[in-house]
Symmetry: C2
């Protein structure tokens, strides 16, 4: 518990109106998209880097936990205050500071909604490609902290690939600029990318310099249905072999199709075992040519049906299938464990066959959809926690899944991070020497362990 005296000191830094201590009001800050809950002692809304610095210095001196928070839309529990303490909500860092059209660079504060950055730069003919599904609610600071991916990663890469530099506050209070504001830079160790994806455990981000690119002129969406997953995966590989890097190559398995088919405004072939939603972007001629080539490839790969959107409205209708899949899975069971493993693309059909076996073994529906272009598959283990044993079975599926994924040369997290939900499994993937290095790096940044404690490293990790 943070003492009243300390809370008073915090209020002196930010003003009392930017500090929440009332239990009712705190509840909103107890959880994130995982719905796991743990109550903080207080929530503070710093207004500038100096506030952040003074609060962190105090935390290091007194030894209370500080949990940085963006929109609370994280998928691995990164913002859940598992050990109580002070939630540091970055909502007031909500400005787009500069958009430099000559150098294709933009500086933003961490509390800006990612989608708002995209809108602002697209008005100027520029483009910030990373597009996590949460982009209309999640903040850029959270995206950087988790190294968020998204649908367009297959062509454009992930958050890491667009961050040039950061301003951060270290747990000991120093305000530090890392990286560069130019397109290249290699001076000293890459602290910028060390902090990206560190899930709020190394430093609090107060400003971000992003690289932009010119906005592609047009895009075109197509959908193809296949008899089975292996045909769909073959189609993705063949498309890329034809030198077409799609902007998006999303995949859905049979179970997902069953869940969404009622709601779709187009009919899904009865024998469809997999769907691909593909988007290409670029100049008009270019995308029309590519869409045609994609159709040919899909047909060669036994596609049952192919639909090309003729305009934005039709594209929207096709996208509905993808947008509806996540919520519609709740029709199978009321609870969901959603993993975001990555495997080599060529092994996707094997993985889906394995999920099928797992589902039968544990008697649970397991639905797979996600980013076929880069092998980043969202595996949804549906279950009902009020049915005895189902949660345990779902957890057993997670363990078996991770073992298989690692055997296949994959990783347990493509874009959601480790947080608390995957912390117990991290040592399945990262060798002991790696975990030790990470713990010691944590200690270099945060000698008293005040910043987001309990995340990434499980209690059994070496420190």
């Amino acid at each position: 518990m943070i003492s009243k005296i300390i809370l008073k000191e915090i209020a002196c830094i930010t003003g009392q109106e930017h500090l929440i201590t009332a239990r009712d009001a705190l509840k909103e800050y107890a959880s994130d998209a995982t719905r796991l809950e743990s109550m903080p002692d207080a929530v503070v809304f710093p207004g500038n880097a100096e506030h952040v610095s003074r609060i962190l210095r105090l935390a290091t001196e007194k030894g209370f936990p500080v949990i940085p928070r963006g929109a609370g839309s994280g998928m691995s529990g990164g913002a859940v205050p598992v050990r109580g303490g002070l939630v540091m909500a970055m909502n007031r860092f909500n400005r787009i500071l500069t958009v430099d059209q000559d150098n294709l660079i933009c500086r933003v504060e961490p509390g800006v909604i990612t989608g708002h950055i995209q809108e602002a730069v697209e008005k100027l003919g520029l483009f910030y490609p990373p597009d996590p599904a949460s982009l209309n609610i999640s903040t850029i600071g959270g995206n950087v902290a988790e190294c968020a991916g998204g649908l367009r990663a297959v062509k454009y890469g992930v958050t890491r690939d667009y961050v040039l530099g950061l301003t951060v506050v270290l747990p000991t209070g120093e305000i530090l600029k890392t990286g560069v504001e130019t397109m290249k830079g290699v001076a000293g160790y890459d602290l910028t990318r060390l902090i990206i994806g560190s899930e709020g455990t190394l430093a609090v981000i107060t400003a971000i310099t992003l690289r932009l690119i010119p906005k592609p002129a047009e895009n075109k969406t197509v959908i193809a249905f296949f008899p089975d997953v292996s045909s769909a995966v073959r189609a993705v590989s063949e498309i890329i072999r034809n030198r077409i890097i799609p902007t998006v190559a999303e995949f859905m398995d049979r179970l997902c199709l069953d869940c969404v088919k009622e709601k779709m405004k187009f009919s899904i072939p009865r024998s469809a075992g997999a769907m691909l939603l593909i988007e290409v972007d670029g100049d008009e001629d270019f995308i029309e040519q590519n869409a045609l080539r994609i159709r040919q490839v899909c047909e060669l790969c036994s596609a049952l049906k192919f639909i090309a959107a003729r305009d934005k409205k039709e594209a929207n209708r096709l996208w509905e299938a993808r947008r509806e899949v996540s919520p519609s899975l709740y029709g199978l069971r009321p609870h969901k464990i959603s993993e975001d493993i990555v495997i080599p693309r060529s092994k996707m059909a094997d993985l889906v066959a394995f999920l099928d076996k797992l589902g039968r073994r544990y008697n649970l529906p397991i639905a797979a959809f996600g980013h076929a272009g880069d092998g980043n598959i969202h595996v949804n283990i549906m279950h009902n926690r009020s049915h005895p044993g189902e949660l345990e079975n779902a957890q057993a599926v997670v363990k078996d899944l991770f073992e298989k994924v690692l055997q296949m040369g994959g990783t347990i997290s493509g874009e959601h991070g480790i947080g608390i939900t995957k912390a117990p499994y991290l040592e399945m993937e990262i060798p002991r020497a790696g975990l030790e290095l990470m713990s010691r790096i944590k200690n270099v940044f945060d000698p008293r362990g005040i910043l987001n404690p309990g995340k990434i490293f499980s209690s059994s990790s070496p420190v």
Copy 2:
């Protein structure tokens, strides 16, 4: 000095035939492309990661320096054994281990020449974009250690953007896999990118997993001459504003043009103050369209002359201008200090005007060429060390240049690294809190400081 007993132990690990101790033979390993020299005590050629591990363990136990070395083509002294010790030459790690055509991934050992990787994958229709000018001599391990850039960085990014994972040996002997072998991955801290660009000071790399892309079908080269630098810079910005990201956008100032003009097979307009060499890649129609648009943009930006290569042979002739520039500068003075600063692209004309002023102030020819697309300019301070005061003047230029570059929001190194040549200046760019973090991270990896000592951090840096 490494004792005879220790040298015997090293010979036991690798075999005597893989250890050099004869002074004459050592000379070859005393320097790199900087021509700065310092003699090592011995050179070892480990044959596998286990050898590397046993040698590093021994070094940590006994406390002697180990200097990892690729081809010795580095531009900042990274491979120069400034404190003597054991050069660890990675020449025997010379295999391309796998090229996975389905997943567009390739695993290589660090001693493979980068150009050989490109040839091997291009035969399969794949592409490894980073192309430092040294690609036909430098090794991929050296490229990773320095985070090498290259001409194509403006479109395709730098080495960092293509490394998915590493196998490294820590100074304490542990063999560690970092990162992933898939297209995405965010499990734990990003040790991979912390090691990339760490200039052989954190770990010895023994295997590298690279991301590949499909090889662009065609490319087309054009050259344009402008009356002055600002017109050339405006042209680059306008090209990008027209949604064309050139594969290459190389720039040369008037002094460079003067040096190469005799050797060119095409005439350079007398009033030319700057040249751009631009390349675009993609499908044939696409690049022809783009070349046309580039011509229009250049003409709008006052281009004096525009040449578009009609075939590979003509392209080669245009490229000669760029290839000849670096050696031909020695016609001005026998010695060169070559910096690789980066500034916001929009400030390039200001920088070149500043160089002009500096050249007059210190009475030295200063020639600028390089990567206009990303603002990474190679500034060549020509001088004659046998003329009293010229070396000192050249060094004064460096200091003034770095001050100006940092004022402009730039960085002192875009792709060559800090090594020894820029170590004294690093604290001009990186704030003290950053240098402290870096030193402590170094200490986490390398508690006895055996790995490439004297690099990056100057003796005045905090430890």
